[in-house]
Symmetry: C2
Subunit: 216 residues, 2 copies
DNA sequence: GTCTATACGTGGATAGAC
DNA sequence: GTCTATCCACGTATAGAC
C-alpha cells in the first residue's frame, strides 16, 4: 500500500491542511479552503479521511511520530553515554518538543492539536493522546526515576505532569516571556529548553512528600 | 445601566451558555441550544453579545474576575501574615485556580477558554488574556522575587511561565495522574495543589543561570 | 479504487417588522 | 428590546463518472 507516485491527492490534502491549520487554526480553516489549496475536489477529503476531525488527527500524527522517535532516540543516547544524568534525560524530553513546536511548517498546527483536546470535550482524541503520549511519558518516568532515587512513583508522575504542562505552555509560546528581536528563534528556543530543564531538575530533586520507600 | 430586574435575558443566556459549554464544549454547543435552554429567541444572543465568540469570552470573564480577586486577596493575606514565605505566595497563585477549575458549574468552560486561545489563532483573545492575566502574573512575580533574592527578572519570568503552564495542565486534568475512586475531588485537588507548590518551590529556588545581581 | 458534481441539513449571523 | 424570516457558509453524504 502507498504508491510511490509523485504526489497523491491524499498527500496534497495533508500538506495544504497542515499549512492552513498552522496559520489560521482549525475553526478558522474550512475544508473548502483546504481542497482549494490542494487543488482537489471538496469530497476528496471525506473520501480519504472520513471527516475533518480525522484529517486534523492525521496531520498531527505524522509530526507526533517524528517527535516521539526523536525523544526516544535522544533518551537512549543519554542513558548509554551519560547514565544517571538527570539533565540529559530531561533534555531528551524537552528539546525535540520545542524544536518541533518552532518548525514554521508544522509547529503551529502541532501544538494546537494538543490544545484542542483541552478545549473541546473530545474523549477520542484524549484517549489517542494518552495511549501514545502516555507510553513515552512512562518511559521517561523510568529514566528519571533511575536518576532520582527515593522518589515514589506517585510523586514522579505528578512531577512529570507538571513538566509536560510547562513544556506545552512553552511550545505554544504563551507566557510573559517574549523573544527579543535581536536574538534568533533557534537561540530563544535553546534558552527556553535550558531554563525549563534547570527548573524541572530542581523540581524533580525536591524531597519526596510521600516517602513510600526505605531510608536506606 | 444594568437594571436590577429579576433575571434579565442577558443573564439567562450567560447562565445557560456556561452550563452547556462546560458540558459539551464550544463547538459542541449551538446557539440554538443555548437560547432554547435560556428560553429566549435565537436572535437575542447576537443582539446582546454580538457573536458566539463574544459570548464565550463573557462567560469566561465573569469567572476570571472572581479568580483574580481570590488570588490577589490570598496573596495580600500571605504577604502580611507570612512575609517572605514562598510557599504561601505560590499557594495564593495555585489554589484559587484549581478550585475554580474543579467547579462543576463553571470549571469545564473556564479551562476551555484558555485552551482555546492556544488551539485557535485568536490574537484578540490572546491579547485580552495577556492584558489581564499578565497583570496578575507580574504582581506574583514581585511577590516571589521578594522571597527569592538573587533571581534576575528574566529568570523569574521564565519560571513563572513554567508554573502557569503546569497549573493550566493540572486544571485541565490532562496528565497521567488520575484521581483514585476512593478519594474525593476536593482531596485530589488539594493534593494537586500541594504537589505543584512543592515542585515549583524547588524550581524557583534553583540557582539563577544568569546572575545579574551582586553576590552580597 | 479515485475522484467529481451536487444536494442536504445545520450553523451563525442579519435585516426589518413589531 | 424582541422576534420572525431569511441568508450564506459550512461539514457531510451520496450517486455516478472515470
Amino acid at each position: 500500500m502507498g504508491k510511490p507516485a509523485s504526489f497523491s491527492t491524499k498527500d496534497r490534502i495533508l500538506g495544504a491542511a497542515e499549512e492552513l491549520f498552522a496559520q489560521h487554526g482549525f475553526a478558522g480553516t474550512s475544508l473548502r479552503q483546504v481542497t482549494s489549496h490542494a487543488d482537489v475536489n471538496i469530497a476528496a477529503v471525506n473520501y480519504h479521511f472520513g471527516s475533518k476531525e480525522n484529517l486534523v488527527n492525521e496531520v498531527f500524527r505524522r509530526r507526533m511520530d517524528e517527535m516521539t522517535a526523536a525523544r526516544l532516540g535522544q533518551l537512549e543516547q543519554a542513558r548509554s553515554s551519560q547514565p544517571g544524568d538527570l539533565r540529559a534525560v530531561l533534555a531528551a524530553f524537552v528539546e525535540p518538543a520545542l524544536a518541533l513546536a518552532q518548525d514554521r511548517q508544522s509547529g503551529g498546527a502541532f501544538v494546537r492539536v494538543i490544545a484542542r483536546a483541552y478545549a473541546e470535550k473530545n474523549d477520542n482524541l484524549r484517549k489517542f493522546l494518552s495511549d501514545h503520549y502516555g507510553h513515552v511519558l512512562r518511559e521517561f518516568g523510568k529514566a528519571i526515576g533511575a536518576c532520582v532515587p527515593g522518589l515514589s512513583k506517585e510523586e514522579l508522575y505528578w512531577r512529570l505532569d507538571f513538566l509536560a504542562g510547562a513544556l506545552t505552555y512553552a511550545m505554544a509560546d504563551f507566557g510573559l516571556i517574549k523573544r527579543p528581536h535581536n536574538i534568533s528563534e533557534a537561540a530563544h528556543r535553546s534558552k527556553a529548553a535550558q531554563e525549563l530543564i534547570h527548573f524541572a531538575e530542581a523540581g524533580f530533586r525536591a524531597n519526596a512528600r510521600t516517602p513510600d520507600s526505605s531510608l536506606t
